[in-house]
Symmetry: C2
Subunit: 194 residues, 2 copies
């Protein structure tokens, strides 16, 4: 029953990323992916609706994960503690250690406008979940939306810098740097200029 091996998803993902990088997303077929992974197309379609979804694996669980993290934070947590804690957890559990794969993935997503729109939709869906979770904690609507959007911005900007670096610094350092930079940018003047 090798098709049920728990690493099937990982092998399919790795094979797909390799082939997308080698010959392009459009030119790659599902049978090529399963051949490279040493698995059947039936196994592929048990895990993914199509080849595009390999690039967005695990995404379905993200909104629920974000909601849970926000709901489970201590009642006393202020908004800043809330988002930095959640971002740190996401960085350490979902991104750290996967830099080579994520670099390859970014190249592929950038190569295809349809994949780029799909990526933007993913971000919007997560933002909506975070906004809803912040509303449930009692934050006003505008604060909730700002927290969600700003969390997405910090993660997005930190991810790009982490992927672009020459060295090997962990993602959470770039998150700290992004937050420090944003806070400093927004504090430059005392009053709100008009």
């Amino acid at each position: 029953m090798s098709r049920w091996r728990p690493d099937a998803r990982e092998r399919l993902e790795r094979a797909a990323l390799e082939l997308f990088a080698e010959q392009g997303f459009a030119a790659t077929t599902v049978p090529q992916i399963t051949e490279r992974a040493g698995l059947t197309t039936r196994t592929f379609f048990r895990h993914y609706a199509d080849k595009r979804e390999v690039l967005f694996a695990g995404e379905a669980e993200l909104p629920a994960m974000a909601r849970r993290m926000i709901a489970d934070a201590p009642p006393s947590a202020d908004p800043l503690t809330l988002i930095t804690g959640a971002l740190r957890a996401v960085a350490d559990t979902r991104f750290e250690g996967r830099r080579a794969d994520l670099l390859r993935r970014r190249e592929i997503v950038r190569s295809d406008p349809g994949l780029g729109e799909r990526e933007l939709r993913k971000r919007a869906v997560i933002c909506e979940a975070v906004t809803a979770a912040c509303r449930e904690r009692g934050f006003p609507a505008m604060t909730a939306a700002l927290l969600a959007e700003t969390s997405a911005t910090l993660l997005f900007v930190a991810l790009q810098a982490w992927l672009d670096q020459d060295g090997d610094r962990p993602l959470h350092e770039f998150l700290d740097e992004a937050l420090t930079s944003l806070r400093s940018t927004l504090s430059v003047t005392g009053a709100v200029p008009h």
Copy 2:
């Protein structure tokens, strides 16, 4: 030569918005739009590639407009002054006075996933232009990206609140409120929590 009347675009846009709202985006045809506007389909296609683009009219000029505003700001302008000035200008020239149409437009965009993705792409394209313009002013890459993304967040969040309001307050008041709320949220604790 009535087809060259300068208000042709405006009439087509108004007719399209009305029809999309009345009978749905998918069910509306270009001949229906031109009939309602009292213009020919030839005139329509001189202004728009298809019915979807009516909803994104004027978008092509936005990246250049954003770049110009940032490039033309006084050399001494700090980042916060830069973005608040640009957002205020955008609010007053492109949104204020159009609330009824923009409410209708938002309903239509929300009704169709394809339109939603198109809207997200519009935002991403403008963010890229603002990031590039901030880089040209000499801001570091991370600061430039944070400024662009945060400007988009402030505008997006303020726009939603402005559209949702019961009263008749101007958009720039919601922009001020969003900025004040974001600054306060990010200042709650002195140190960056881990």
